[in-house]
Amino acid sequence: MYTDKVMDHFKNPHNMGEIPDADGVGTVGNPVCGDLMTIYIKVKDNKLEDIKFKTFGCGAAIATSSMITDLARGKTLEEALKITRANVADSLGGLPPVKMHCSNLAADALHVAIEDYYKRQKEAKQ
């Protein structure tokens, strides 16, 4: 059902954990639906210096969370905002159709985390 790449990330997820002093945090999904993920980012010179995740969900949810941290780390915020759900799924060699909608939330979580960072910056200036 899952590609080897998905299973690799499920077995050994990259960058799992929290960043206690994160510059931005994004949570999407809902435990009621069976998937909930939180992305933590650390920003330096407009780049994603560090990124970590925490996920409640199925194999696809865990693998997409792990993959997004690989795709986004080191990127500028503008580049990171351009990463789509489709990019994440493609990088994993594809996802089962039923998982594309519900469990492929990692890109959304990253975007929410970056928006949270922008909001915090704006508030800090005021």
């Binding site: 799992m16 069976g34 998937d35 409640f56 194999g59 949810a61 039923v98």
Partner: protein, 370 residues
Amino acid sequence: MLPYMTTLYGNPASLHSFGQEPRQALEQTRAKVADLINAERKESVIFTSGATESNNLAVKGVAFRNQSRGNHIITSSIEHMSVMNPVKYLKTKGFDVTFLPVDKYGIVDLDSLEKSMNDKTILVSIMYANGEIGTIQPIKEISQIVHRKNAVLHVDATAACGHVPIDVKTEGIDLLTLSSNDMYGPKGIGALYIKQGVVIEPLIHGGGQERGLRSGTENLPDAVGFGKAAELAKAEMAVESERLTKLRVRLIKGLLDAVPTSFLNGHPTRRLPDNVAVRFSYIEGESILLSLDLQGVAASSGSACTAKTLEPSHVLLAIGLKHEEAHGSLLCTLGRQNTDEEVDYVISIMPNIIQRLRVMSPLTPKELKG
């Protein structure tokens, strides 16, 4: 099964000599299936393509036959989709349907059943045991209530047949669904027991095979396999169910002791010997079963059928679980090949699997992260 695909390939419905031996084999296998459930005569058993067809035939067959008498159908809220969906279909055709609630163990509320019955009630369909949570229903008491009001009782015994003794006579069952592949028989074959005197409408019209209730040439090779499975199930039931019950008790206790905030789904004692259904808070079932699969253990989350929809199982919601609790459910079904050592292996690997996923989950409280 093999001879009926290679040399004894005659049509059991044919009068010529090639059809004679297949005909006899079909009737012998019918007798074996009838014997498993203590049917009054073998002719009360008809073969179908499986439990889904049997459930459809029973529910729609009784409903359409009796619609001049009444249009009210009662079922439970934890039935298999092959009862749920025919009943919902009948609703669109003008039938009234009552879905009975169940308690936290999944046992049908008998008071609600009694109160729901009225002069228009023609059919009550309640499963013998639930495959997702293992709970066995009080069929005899249900039957007494149903028959006091002159309705017909259909029992879906897919998960139960071949695992626990079923006696259609003493339990007062009018129609009973049997599955072959749930008792180690081949797939693509099942049966419906229809008590002598209970009349239903067929779904499939044609050449009039199976007493006109299921036209079409019988699937003889699979039927023979089904008959053998039924024969073996009956012969081994007493010993095997005791053995499996011990394994079940050992596995449930082992898991609940080894993993904090884990719970049993379904009834602790009134349950199928092979059914271990547990749930673990703060994590999701599929990731548990993937982890088990990587270590050679095959399990399922909720029900294999609901895995396609991603929605938590309606059974788990009906016993009062919240969505997030239902998502953390795991079902292990024990079988003939399973041993004490295998049960102990599952118990030994589970704490690490659960802990790894809990560390990953944002829902896990700090004290459980170790």
